[in-house]
Amino acid sequence: MSPAVDVKTLVIDGIDVSARADQTVLEVARENNIFIPTLCHLDGLSDVGACRLCLVEVKNSPKLFPACVLKVEEGMEVTTKSDRLLHYRQTILELLFAERNHVCSVCVTNNHCELQATAQSQGLTHVRLPYRSPRLGVDASNERFVADQNRCILCTRCVRVCDEIEGAHVWDVMGRGIDSMVITDLMQPWGESSCTRCGKCVNVCPTGALFDKTKVGSDHPKYPDFVPYLNMMREGR
C-alpha cells in the first residue's frame, strides 16, 4: 500500500486545481499552465522570496503573498492577475532598473536576460523613477568568468546554487539594504577565491551580472535547466 498522499484542493484564477500539501502556489500554478512572473525562483533551488515579483492575492486577506513560498491550503482562492498586482510588479521592476546600471543595449546577455524579458511581459516601456547611476565594480579576476555588479539584482540564485548544488558556498551577500552586494569568499577577488570554476552561478544568473569571458561575441545565452536534472540524478530517480 502506498503511503496516503495529503491532497488539497484550491482555486487559482477561477480554476479548480488539486495539489500535494507540501506544494507551493507557484508550483501548482505552473503545473496548470498559469503564468506567474518570477526572478529569484529557480526550479531545483530553495526559495527565498527575495524579488517579490510572484506576489499573488489570496481571498479574505488584505496582504499580498509571494507564490514561490506560499504553501497551498484547502479551499484557498488565489488571484495571480489584477491591476493591483500589475502595478506592484511593474514598480518592483522599475526599482530594479533604477537601482543599478542595466544598459540592455550593451549587455552580453541582451535578449537572453530574465529581467529584460520580464519587463516586457509586464508591459514596462519606461522607468518612472530617477536612475541612481551608482559607481560599481566589475571583477574580472577569475580566469573564466566576470562579475559585473552593475547588472546584479540580488536574486541570490548564485549564492544558492553554489551552496546547495555545488557545495562550495563561495558566493554570499555582504552589506544591508542598498549597499548589499554579492561577494566571493570574504570579499576576495573571484580569481583568488575558493571558486571551483564550475560555472553553475553563471548559468543560473538571470542577468548579465555573471558571464563567461571565454566566449566571444555579445550573445551569451544561459542554461539554468541543469539544476532540477542534477537533483533528479542525485536522488537516483
Binding site: F97, S105, Q116, A117, T125, P130, Y131, S133
Partner: protein
C-alpha cells in the same frame, strides 16, 4: 485629407533610431503619403514649426542645448514619442553618469589629443551633470524602447498613430531590442 505633421528630432543619440526609421525602406513611401515631414535631420527645415502633430525624439538629454530644445519641442507638439533607449532610459550616453562630465571631457579633449589639448568653452554646449531620459524633463505620450527599435516596430507604430490609435508598444519591442 489633412496630412499629419510629423517631426523627428536628434538629441544625444547615435542616429541609429533614424537609420532604423529609414530601414522601413519602400514602406516609408507608402506611409509618407499620409504625413508631411516638417522638421527632421533628414530634411532641411531649420526651425521647429508652430505646431507639430507627432514628434519622434531620439536621444537622451545631456546638454543645456538638449534641455532647451526639448522644452521648446514639448510646447509645440501634440504627441511626443520618446524614440529608442537613449530617449527612454538614458542608455549609452547615461553611462557617464557614475563619473560625471569632467572625466569625459578630459578623456575626449586632453588624454586622446596630441596637438593643443583644450576643453572647448564656446559653440559646444555645456554638459549637464547627469544624462537623463526625456520624461524627466517633459511629459512623454508614448515610449518606444529598443536600441534601435526595429524597422518593423516603426512601421507598426507609425501606421497605428496615423490611424489615430495608440499602439501596444510592449508587444512589439523592449529595452535593448
Amino acid at each position: 485629407m489633412n496630412k499629419i505633421k510629423l517631426a523627428t528630432v536628434w538629441l544625444d543619440g547615435c542616429s541609429g533610431c533614424h537609420m532604423s526609421f529609414l530601414d522601413m525602406d519602400e514602406r516609408l513611401l507608402e506611409l509618407s503619403s499620409q504625413f508631411n515631414l516638417v522638421y527632421s535631420p533628414l530634411v532641411d527645415f531649420k526651425d521647429y514649426p508652430e505646431m507639430v502633430d507627432v514628434a519622434l525624439v531620439e536621444g537622451a538629454i545631456s546638454s543645456v542645448e538638449d534641455e532647451h530644445k526639448i522644452q521648446h519641442i514639448r510646447k509645440h507638439t501634440t504627441l511626443l514619442v520618446a524614440m529608442g533607449d537613449c530617449a527612454v532610459t538614458g542608455n549609452v550616453p547615461a553611462m557617464r553618469n557614475p563619473f560625471g562630465p569632467l572625466p569625459i571631457l578630459e578623456r575626449a579633449y586632453h588624454e586622446n589629443v596630441s596637438a593643443q589639448p583644450q576643453t572647448p568653452s564656446v559653440i559646444v554646449p555645456a554638459l549637464l551633470e547627469k544624462v537623463r531620459p526625456v520624461h524627466e524633463f517633459v511629459s512623454v505620450d508614448l515610449y518606444l524602447p529598443g536600441c534601435p527599435p526595429a524597422a518593423d516596430t516603426f512601421f507598426t507604430v507609425i501606421t497605428e498613430l496615423l490611424a489615430g490609435r495608440i499602439p501596444d508598444v510592449a508587444s512589439l519591442t523592449r529595452f535593448g531590442a
